[in-house]
Amino acid sequence: MHIPDGFFPISQAAMYWIIALIFIALSLRWAKREMSEEKVPLVAVLAAGIFAIQTLNMALPISIIPGGVSGHVVGAALAAIVLGSPFAAIFILTLVLILQGIFFGDGGITAMGANIINMGVLGGFFGFYTYQPVNNVFRNRFCAAFIAGWVSLFIPAIVCAVELAVAGTLPLTFGLITMGVYHAVIGIIEGGVTAFAISLIIHARPDIVSGEIPAGARKAGDMLIVAGITIALGIAIFAPYYASTYPDGLDSTFLSAYGAKEVSTVHIDESKVASAESAVIEKTGNSFSWQAPLPGYSLPGLDKPGEVLAILFGVIILFILGFGISRFIARKN
């Protein structure tokens, strides 16, 4: 999921950097406020730990997906849960990504903004604000950590595909399906690792985990957040489906005819998507001909990718609103 340099036009890379910088500034504020003198080494050690975890990719049973991209655990949810703040995840992931980008060339310099947004910001926020409410509502730390881990990997992967599609360097449908399917599986590993790691840490050193809310503090509005996340996820999962089926009834049938048979392998997926697309192009004679049915929901000039992007942004805003409302309610109580 580490996007290299050269896959974004410079203008978009700069835009992502600007957004990332805002969040980095916020995370710095967190660091100044929360990261007391004693916590500096702890945070550093956690950063080193996340880095180490990301190197564990060799040990993961990737073989369950034939071929495909190499994937690894990101650890954003873990960082956020352990340190008790999504900004901690942003802070730590920024450090990790700088190290990876500048020393290994894993993830680009210009693309680092986008990578920080995907893995740090989205991973941290979704990880943390999935874990807490789910834990509060269902009273199951293990499940909460699992779901948080899964979500914190899956959402960034989807967003990553959308970003690349907006940049025009990865066809949307193909990107969504490959990235989505692949990271849905890697997400299980991320979720499992997060859940087992959290349960071991809580078992062995309960004092480490500061993301724990004292028992009984079931917040009003947690349900709202859970619902928000569910909607976000639902749309994220259906986005590729929507994207692939929308264009043309004929093509979608064509696609699913092939798709139904061979969901298991990534490569075939790609090929049928390609064929679907090319069929569309041949029919219309122009690759830009897909028209948005509801122009109001799309970003100008971005057509199809813009649409999905708009929907995703909408969901995220919805989610943040839901979170804000729940916070507001909680404060009143």
């Binding site: 071991l200 078992h203 062995a204």
Partner: protein, 283 residues
């Protein structure tokens, strides 16, 4: 056929540090072998060659006469169990029981066998009562035992211990020495261990290899090795304090017969003093 044999074993770390130079090592059945040497002599590196964690850069490692290959590596690891120096590296489950079960589970045994082995291993090292504890909160000596139990549960025929007594208190050392000796005596297990504690060598080992800078500079029975104090000192080691004392008494003209373990030394001194014939038993 020896259980473990190395022939001209050489190992070079990726950074071009040659840690082992052409070693010939032999571990026969039911032996207790000590490998002693200063810091950085290469003891840990040697041990890691015994179960295929490191592949020889040249030379070979034979386990029951056969070289280690991709095919038999699981067999080899089952056959040669290594307990590392730092118990913390070896313990990664939420409870002691789960940790001990880790190895047998990986071997693909069925649940009943696993359960049986875990119980047996815990009993053997004497920590049945710790089964459901969190390993992180145990004391140094207890952690060490958990680490050993984790290996014992895989029922290896050769047990390799890297500095088993480091950081333990005297009672812990004493218990561990007893335990190692009982493994060899009762179960006929072959035990190979490294240590800096020369006094322990006299209590536990039958045969000693002395390492320095990746080479064996001497090997032999405990007596043969401790008869060479100059060699030992030249490799930053020393003769244990008791034989050293007897030797110094000898040079002062007091004819105390040489002895190595505490009990033997005590007897030697008493018999000498009382002028009794050497082999008489004490009251």
């Amino acid at each position: 056929m020896h259980l473990i044999e190395t022939r001209y074993l050489t190992y070079t770390y990726p950074g071009n540090v040659t840690a082992l130079h052409s070693l010939n090592f032999v571990a026969p059945r039911n032996a207790r072998i000590a490998v002693i040497g200063s810091n950085g002599a290469g003891k840990s590196t040697l041990f890691k060659c015994f179960n295929g964690i490191f592949r020889p850069s040249s030379g070979s490692v034979l386990i029951r006469g056969e070289p280690i290959t991709k095919e038999n590596i699981r067999e080899v690891r089952k056959f040669v169990g290594i307990v590392f120096q730092n118990a913390d590296d070896q313990i990664f489950s939420p409870t002691v029981e789960q940790d001990v079960a880790f190895g047998p589970t990986n071997l693909g045994l069925d649940e009943e066998t696993i359960h049986h082995r875990v119980e047996e291993a815990l009993r053997l090292v004497g920590i049945e009562d710790l089964a459901h504890r969190v390993p992180h909160h145990l004391s140094g000596g207890e952690k060490k035992r958990v680490a050993i139990a984790g290996i014992i549960a895989m029922e290896p025929e050769v047990l390799v211990l890297d500095e088993p007594t480091a950081g333990l208190d005297p009672k812990g050392v004493h218990d561990l020495v007893e335990f190692i000796n009982s493994l060899s005596r009762k179960y006929g297990m072959t035990v190979i261990f490294s240590t800096h504690d020369v006094a322990m060598v006299a209590e536990v080992a039958d045969y000693v290899y002395v390492m320095n800078k990746g080479r064996f500079v001497a090997e032999g029975s405990v007596e043969e090795i401790f008869l060479q104090p100059d060699m030992l000192r030249s490799v930053r080691l020393d003769v244990p304090v008791l034989p050293k004392l007897i030797r110094s008494l000898n040079t002062h003209g007091i004819p105390v017969p040489m002895a190595y373990t505490y009990e033997d030394v005590e007897r030697a001194l008493i018999t000498t003093y009382k002028g009794l014939p050497r082999d008489s038993t004490l009251p």
